[in-house]
């Protein structure tokens, strides 16, 4: 077992464990913090796969922006205490059943499928440096890139629309 594999396993374990903890912890703040850890471990995976730029962006976007948004909301609503009503048994059962089902089904399919044989391709070319990514993003993927701005614009307008107080018309 190579070092890399060990690192992978450790990271994977952290990822999964924190993901679980995110879901199971009663306090939303704790959940949020576990989730941050989870994101960090995923960033670790990215680094492992040599995608440094992505790892950084990931941390900035998720841990830096999205999670902060979550935390702000939690605090805004003063949700640090557990308000959640007791979940009915049927809900839990349903959740567990569907979790098991989807997990088993997907994993079974992948196990059943033909294993990938032989070496993985190694072109040796640089394909994931910032330079390359930038080129692809702004050449080939220029349109989606621009379009993503529309997406964000819509989200922005929407958020404003949903939050801003209306001027009462006379």
């Amino acid at each position: 077992m190579s070092t890399i594999l060990i690192i992978f396993c450790v990271l994977a374990a952290i990822t999964l464990a924190t993901a679980f903890l995110t879901i199971f912890s009663k306090n939303p703040i704790h959940s949020a913090i576990y989730l941050v850890i989870c994101f960090f471990s995923i960033a670790g995976h990215y680094l492992l796969l040599n995608a440094q730029f992505l790892a950084i962006v990931h941390i900035i976007v998720y841990s830096g922006a999205i999670m902060i948004l979550f935390l702000f909301t939690i605090m805004l609503m003063n949700l640090n205490e557990e308000h959640e009503v007791h979940k009915p048994r049927i809900t839990r059962l349903g959740a567990i059943v569907s979790f098991c089902l989807i997990c088993i089904v997907l994993i079974l399919i992948f196990i059943n499928s033909k294993p990938i044989v032989g070496e993985y391709v190694t072109t040796g070319e640089d394909y994931q440096s910032i330079k390359v990514l930038g080129k692809i993003l702004l050449n080939e993927y220029m349109v989606p890139f621009e379009f993503a701005s529309i997406l964000l614009l819509v989200a922005m307008i929407g958020t404003v629309l949903l939050s801003k107080k209306e001027k009462l018309q006379k």
Binding site: N112, P144, I150, I157, V160, E166, Q169
Partner: protein, 456 residues
């Protein structure tokens, strides 16, 4: 491509109008703009071109469907004039969101790359989440937005996972490459799973059974105009995209997959129609009716290579009658907190014109001749029998019969019950939209070749 750019430009223009305090002009300008865009799209009709590394592919398919979307948006924007009377300060936002939504829709039918597809569907979805929740003081609207958002992002996750697996199998997001690869070598199993997951995500968007549960709740809770948008534009867009997705990426889908489609189609029709029978809320009823229409439209997936024309026709017929119906609903339920069928009592006496329009719209949905809905079903049946699925057609026929039950419930309410209160005011725009859309519907019914031959 030009269409897309023009639409986005128009959206931005809307926002600018707000800044320059030209709120009154927004709706008319937008409509004129959209008409211009429509002309632009039609002028590009015969060109098949791909833009920017095959990100956007303009073809007959995309331009016809885009035109349909634009027409629908024109109607929806026009209806907005009346609907947002009391929300003047936000009108530009509403309109702009709708325009961007249209942009997403156009992107979805003209994508050449899965990235565009994904972004398009997300623009559409996010716009819809916002619109659903836009009546923010209303708990129902909140609930609708929340439900739609949660389930929608769940579905987005599934779509994303599917895209990811496709990418894993093919190493590319470009549909032409994917389709070339899919025919050649032995594929990793990731590819079909990816396709299936994307399909399931899209089935959610078109509200097919068993992924339809959100639809009635969301339709009911959302502001009526949003419901109109969802049940006409959004559904048609999702269906067209699903069709395009499957037809572009793999020429022939497997037999067992077809069986799945058949089963889902049957289930959608049956569940949708049966559930609609006992609804008293008109929007909810139309939601279930929409579920069943989704089931009908899914029949086109059984003969992918030939059925684009029928899908276009069905979509046009369905959405035009939907617009007509919703404009009447908007009129009737304005200033009321629900859309209960009681509100429609005696409409035949108080407002015969609108009652007639609603009747015509419902008859079209039920598939009664000379309305376009009839031919839509007919060509669909024709195609499906040709593909060898007689049983499906028979189920569809039985469902058409059931559907008459609830469509007529509404018609009966309009004509046989006594009106409970007078409605005042004659909003010209609503009349215009209703009349134009139903006339278009009937014209389609009288001259089906107009549309059927476009994609033949």
């Amino acid at each position: 491509m030009n269409t897309l750019i023009a639409i986005i430009g128009l959206g931005v223009l809307c926002l600018l109008f707000e800044i320059f305090n030209l709120r009154k002009a927004i709706v008319p300008i937008t409509i004129i703009g959209l008409l211009g865009v429509l002309g632009l799209t039609i002028s590009e009709f015969n060109s098949t071109e791909s833009y920017y590394n095959n990100m956007i592919v303009v073809s007959k398919f995309s331009s016809t469907f885009s035109s349909l979307f634009i027409v629908l948006t024109i109607f929806l924007v026009a209806l907005g004039h009346n609907f947002y009377e009391n929300h003047q300060s936000k009108i530009s936002d509403y309109i702009a969101i709708k325009i961007f939504l249209l942009a997403g829709a156009v992107a979805m039918v003209s994508f050449g790359n899965l990235a565009m597809f994904f972004l398009g569907i997300e623009v559409l979805s996010i716009a819809l989440y916002i619109l659903a929740a836009s009546d923010r003081m209303n708990l129902k609207s909140n609930e609708a937005g929340m439900k739609y958002f949660l389930m929608g992002s769940f579905a987005s996750g599934i779509i994303l996972f599917g895209i990811c697996l496709i990418y894993g199998a093919m190493g590319s997001f470009d549909v032409t490459e994917i389709s070339e690869l899919s025919q050649s070598a032995e594929l990793p199993i990731w590819f079909p799973i990816g396709i299936v997951l994307v399909t399931i995500g899209m089935l959610f968007k078109v509200a097919a059974v068993p992924f339809h549960f959100w639809a009635p709740d969301v339709y009911e809770g959302s502001p009526a105009l949003t419901t109109a948008l969802m049940s006409t534009l959004a559904k048609v867009v999702a269906m067209a995209t699903l069709y395009k997705l499957l037809s572009v990426m793999n020429a022939d889908i497997s037999e067992s997959f077809k069986i799945i489609v058949v089963v889902i189609s049957m289930a959608s029709m049956t569940v949708g129609n049966i559930m609609a029978l006992r609804q008293t809320n008109v929007k909810r009823m139309l939601a279930f009716s929409g579920v069943s229409h989704a089931g009908f439209m899914l029949m086109t997936l059984l003969s992918l290579s030939t059925s684009a024309g029928s899908l276009l026709y069905y979509a046009s017929a369905y959405s035009l009658s939907g617009i007509a119906a919703f404009s009447v609903i908007l009129y009737v339920c304005k200033n009321r907190d629900n859309e209960d069928i009681v509100n429609f009592h005696g409409l035949g006496k108080t407002n015969p014109l609108l009652a007639a329009i609603l009747t015509a719209a419902l008859l079209s949905m039920a598939g009664i001749p000379i309305f376009a809905g009839f031919f839509a079903k007919l060509v669909l049946f024709n195609q499906t029998i040709q593909a060898g699925y007689l049983a499906l057609v028979i189920v569809a026929v039985v469902n058409s019969i059931i559907s008459v039950g609830y469509y007529f419930k509404l018609i009966l309410a309009m004509y046989t019950k006594e009106p409970n209160e007078e409605r005042k005011g004659t909003p010209v725009i609503i009349y215009a939209v209703a009349v134009i859309s139903i006339v278009l519907n009937i014209v389609l019914g009288l001259f089906p070749s107009l549309v059927l031959d476009l994609l033949a």
